[in-house]
């Protein structure tokens, strides 16, 4: 036997033993960390393989390439083994986590959820609808002079219609607005047509409080003044609004009425969503099949003229809806007072 052959055999033996130990060690390694330690021990910069490579230097020069190849083959095999083991371990680790089973029906901890008041939800829905049709949303003061509340709206002192506005007076000239219509005047004073606004706001009337009435309520005013504004637009938008609030089947009905600041004037009704207009013994609509939403009409030419808008050129319409009324219907609330009592259960249910 040649001395070289002996050396090669010796190298083979050493590699065989090393690989046997390596196989044993990686099987022993129970996690990725232990596996890494094995890698460092055998394949690391100062591991066994490196030591073996160094020993090649003692071989005759012509045998060194073969020895190198033998070692490289071994390293490749070991690395493959290592990768294999790594995959096994990682799969085992995932498997362990994936074996977790929880009871998804356990209750969530209290997240400390807040809530938006139902009246605001109604206002937001209505305003969003009108915004999407090009309307701005404006707000106004609750204490208003007589002028904005009445005179400018074609309701002079001694007008019988003032009786319909039993108001809280602050001074002989100032009162808590009994409707949001003063904002029609303020808006028309500040802007020129086209005007398209909705005005949600608090109003006050000296009404005795019961399940359907409150001395404090929220109106949503609408005003549209342009060269071509007509009652069909009013009906169209109110129908759209009702469909947004109550569903695609809603219809809107106009009935003639009287408001000093609109002419022609109309009461607005919508199909009762509770009985779908069937009426009968429906507790929501009292059997009529319709829900009264509020008043509306074409802005009175006297009002337009007072704002120095030529009624021959511009026309406009306005409406005033009760937000609480819409909330009562939308949420099926039995008593308007609940909207001011802030019972936590009420707020949470409707949040």
């Amino acid at each position: 036997m040649l001395p070289g052959a002996f050396v090669m055999t010796e190298l083979d033996n050493q590699l065989t033993e090393l690989r046997a130990r390596f196989s044993y060690e990686i099987e022993e390694a129970g996690d990725e960390q232990a596996l890494e330690a094995v890698r460092v021990l055998f394949l690391g910069r100062s591991g066994y393989i490196t030591a073996l490579r160094r020993s090649i230097g003692q071989l005759p020069a012509q045998e060194r390439p073969a020895a190198g190849r033998v070692i490289n083959q071994a390293v490749e095999a070991m690395q493959a083994q290592l990768l294999q083991r790594e995959r096994t371990l990682s799969a085992r680790a995932f498997q362990e986590e994936l074996n977790h089973r929880i009871d998804v029906t356990m209750p969530a901890p209290d997240p400390g959820e807040g809530s938006i008041h139902p009246t605001r939800r109604i206002i937001e829905t209505v305003c969003r609808y009108f915004s999407s049709h090009g309307f701005a949303v404006v707000l106004g003061p609750e204490i208003e002079p007589e002028y904005y509340n009445f005179d400018a709206l074609n309701i002079p002192a001694d007008h019988p219609a003032r009786e319909g506005f039993d108001s809280f007076w602050i001074t002989p000239q100032l009162l808590l607005r009994p409707h949001t219509s003063p904002m029609q005047i303020r808006t028309m004073e500040q802007h020129r047509p086209p005007i398209a606004v909705v005005v949600p706001g608090r109003c006050y009337r000296r009404d005795a409080v019961d399940a359907r009435h409150h001395f404090q309520f929220t109106q949503i005013e609408g005003l549209y003044v342009a060269r071509d504004a007509h009652m069909g637009h009013l009906k169209g938008l109110l129908t759209g609004m009702c469909r947004e609030l109550f569903g695609a089947q809603q219809q809107v009905r106009f009935r003639p009425s009287f408001f000093p600041f609109t002419e022609p004037s109309a009461e607005v009704d919508t199909t009762c969503p509770l009985c779908s207009g069937a009426g009968g013994t429906c507790r929501m609509c009292g059997g009529s099949g319709w829900i009264e939403l509020g008043g509306s009409g074409m802005v009175h030419p006297n009002v337009l003229a007072k704002m120095e808008y030529d009624p021959q050129v511009y026309s406009g319409w306005a409406f005033g809806l009760g937000a609480e009324r819409l909330a009562i219907v939308r949420y099926d609330i039995d008593d308007i007072r609940r909207l001011y009592e802030n019972d936590p259960d009420f707020l949470q249910q409707l949040a």
Binding site: G114, E124, V138, E142, F168, Y204, M231, S315, Y340, N342
Partner: protein, 785 residues
Amino acid sequence: MRVPLAWLREYVELPAEPHRVAEMLAAIGFPVDAIEERPVITGVLAGRIEELEKHPNADKLQVGRINVGNGAPLTIATAATNVAQGQTIGVATIGARLPQMTIEPRKMRGIESQGMMISADELALPGDWFENGIMQFDGDLAPGSDLIEYFRLGDAVLDVDITTNRVDAMSMIGLARELAAYQGAILRMPPLDYAVTGDGPQPIVSIETADCRRFAAQRFSELTVRGSPAWMRIRLALAGQRPINNLVDISNYVMLETGQPLHFYDDDRIVNHHLIVRDARPGERLTTLDGEEHELDPDDLVIAGEREVEGLAGLKGGRNSEVTDATRAILLESANFSGPRVRRMSARAGLRTEASTRHEKGLPLFLTGLGQQRAAHLLSAGGAIAHPVHAFGESPQPMDPIPLRIDDIRRLLGYAPSNTETIELLDRLGFAVTPHGERELLVTPPLWRRDVGAAADVIEEIARMAGYDRIEAVLPAVEPNVIESMAYERETDVAHTLCGLGYHEITTVALTGAQIGERFARAGLPLPHTPVEVMNPLSEEQRYLRFALEPACIEYFSRRHSPARVFEIGHTFYHDGREPRERSMMTFAFSAQRGADPAWRDSHFLRLKGDAEILMHRLTGRRDFSYAPAELSGAHPGKTAIMLLDGREIARLFQIDPRLQAAFDAALPMYACSADLQAIPPYAWPSYQARPKYPSTYRDLALVCDIQLPAARIERAIAASLPALCTGVHTFDEYRGPQVPEGKKSVAVRVTLQRPDATITDQEADAAVQHALAELRELGATLRT
């Protein structure tokens, strides 16, 4: 207005079903509040008492032989005492159905009674408005007539809502006219004719005021005061008017029928048959029909005789010339008074009558004649001698024609009937229409319509008659406009941010009683603002407008034992000494369990501040807020801060003063943040700042300084001393106690350092800290050793 359908049908053909009539009325602008169905009554006939004798076996009973038309007379016993031979009465025959019972044959003390003589109650009429006992009918009523059919007593009564502009429709004829026009039917006017056979002295009316535009006066003599015929009493009762006697009833009947209020003076009490319409004189007094004595105001409009005041115009007559059983002649007044004037008198006298509710809406002059003629007809028919009528003041004149541009119909309604239809619809309502050129109509309203004065009014009439359902729902193409929604959007942002932070929105009433003031007083605290007071509150609980939102939050918390979080957005009001002021406010607040914090720290307050910063960042897009301690009534003096942006207040944060909390009987400490929404600057869009790509480092400094030195001062000083390197200073801990000298505290600050052009070295960072420390020494802050 109560409208018996039986009465209404006299003037216009109507569907049988009451609800269909109600629907028609609603469709033309007269919604029906209620349909009062009448009870089903059958088998009640008119009967004439042929004979009447005492019951042989009972002192208190009488037995009558009653002619009820066909067949033999019925034998009926009665306990009533107002019966007599020859009377026409109502008989409930065997099998008759009455509201309370069904009539069966029965023996009354041995005599078979074949029915029952009835009172008004049995016809479901208010019994105390009619005879005490058996109801009396008129002699011309044929025995055997079915009373329910004859008087249409089964027909429903509608409660009709009449808008204030339509005083012309506040009557049977007025509503019938509307229904006739809507259906294209004929209006049947009641008879108005009468013969003038008297020629007594002329009445004279002196009108000394512009507030009486017309006064028709007429004398009637040879009167006998007695009960009215049954048909009139029944109609009045169904309409809600109590029958009194033939004179009073005619004046009420004509008012309900035509809409024109009348007054009858006892002519013998009117000196020289002379009436004067004038302002009341200072010191004058009047006792009205109801016995009330009124001290008159010069703004009262009175009808006076030559000696004394005889009545308040359009409101109520005086006792002096009241019609009594002894009245033999009357002076009829059918007059037109100023609506506003009557309204003011009514308010001053605290008195409202059927007459004044009509007068105050401004009656058409036309009605004075109609009312006078109808009353004259009824009085004459009742046997009175009519003397010539004398009318004073203006005569009703048609208005100038209203020019109606045909295009305007479509312009306002979105659709237009054909010209032919338009003219037809207006004609039915009594409007005279003349074409004026191709594109215009001249429209003259009828004399009874004072509410139609402009083209828009005429267009409403067209729409009403054509049907509002013909207005088609279409969507407008709204042109862009410049009006901003900022204030509303801000409220929405506040609400949604606070909702996200776990607060519940509440809505409380803005009118409160004295209790808020009392709570502050009980806590020994002054009110932060002078509240605005309502002049005419509904009750003492609603006398004041809220000056802040916090009290309602405190009340909310005081009602529950566990911690809660709420917010409210709304207006608040205060009096600035000259005038009421109004602000649009937001308050969020929470109640919390008392924590374990030492006296110099409050983690609840810091939570409040954190929430305030999230909210204000959302609203303004900025984070560079600063804070100043403050003292406010109702706030804890050591736990109050004004939150500032650019040196201006944007919010107030505080713990509710524990004394106020106790005064509200609230158990838990409470914290609140309030802001005037208009004081918060608009949202500023941030610009992106690219960060230096070189890594930063930081140094934590434990500093010892005076207790009074605010952490913010230290942070500012450090940042200011290292303008080029310092990219952040954050205080993360505070300590007071034995580890530091008396009067001192320790503050831990992390200073972040970074170079824009290179990685900062440890040496540079250390040098920067030394530089900052040198600056801090001037504030009395030194590195803790």
